[in-house]
Symmetry: C2
Subunit: 140 residues, 2 copies
């Protein structure tokens, strides 16, 4: 992306609107002191990312009261034009039963049968995004 | 993804084949001590990820002899089935002129005109991947 008029940084409202329409994003976390990213289904609940992860999973452990990032993008593979949004916040497990009951309705798939699962929320105190034109060398 | 027969971990060869067919991936790095991920165009050169970034950019600074991850996925938004590959290695700048000349031919778009740019390589000593079925709670 050239440092010209094409560089468009999104405001918070635009970032949230884009997140609200996404389905799959990537949790960016630390795994054994190494950077890691893993795709998950998510929904936006207010201004928090919500996803589910199995009890005992790497992702469940890594997102327990840890500062993580959440990244969503949509890029046309032919034109290389699109957008990317990155949120950063301290993840926590949702344990409020009323909220859990409501989220179960909204999360896109049923719970894995016969397994425990955790519902993780990532608040987004830091939220940035921008239009991408990956044809040029990146300036970010 | 349920911990059943659907959980398929890929071997290194499969991961490399999937990376070879990708176009856009995400550099996972640390930015001001915070986790970050940024999409880039890339090519696979041997067993190294190659992408370009502008001189002075955040990404150029963050990938200078730093251990970073590189993540590529392809997920059907309707079925939530797909795959994700994650490589980890110490990024370095490609400065060999012969190799740079060859890479310029392969990288999918011209250099941003009138700007300096860096060609960054990420070796992949650690490379993992797996089939995803995001409908169920994640187990990773």
């Amino acid at each position: 992306m050239a440092e010209t008029a094409e560089l468009v940084e999104f405001d918070r409202g635009t970032c949230l609107r884009l997140l609200a329409h996404g389905v799959v994003g990537r949790v960016v976390f630390t795994d054994a002191a190494m950077p890691a990213a893993q795709p998950v289904n998510y929904v936006l609940d207010g201004e928090e990312i919500i996803f589910r992860t199995a009890g005992g999973s790497k992702l469940a452990a890594a997102t327990r009261r840890a500062v993580v990032a959440f990244q969503v993008d949509d890029i046309d593979v032919d034109t290389h034009i699109g957008w990317s949004v990155l949120g950063i916040g301290e993840a926590y497990e949702v344990t409020d039963t009323d909220r859990l009951a409501e989220l179960v309705e909204r999360l896109p798939a049923p719970w894995a049968s016969g397994r425990t699962a955790h519902t993780i929320a990532i608040p987004l105190p830091r939220l940035t995004g921008r239009r991408l034109c990956l044809g040029d060398a990146d300036t970010g």
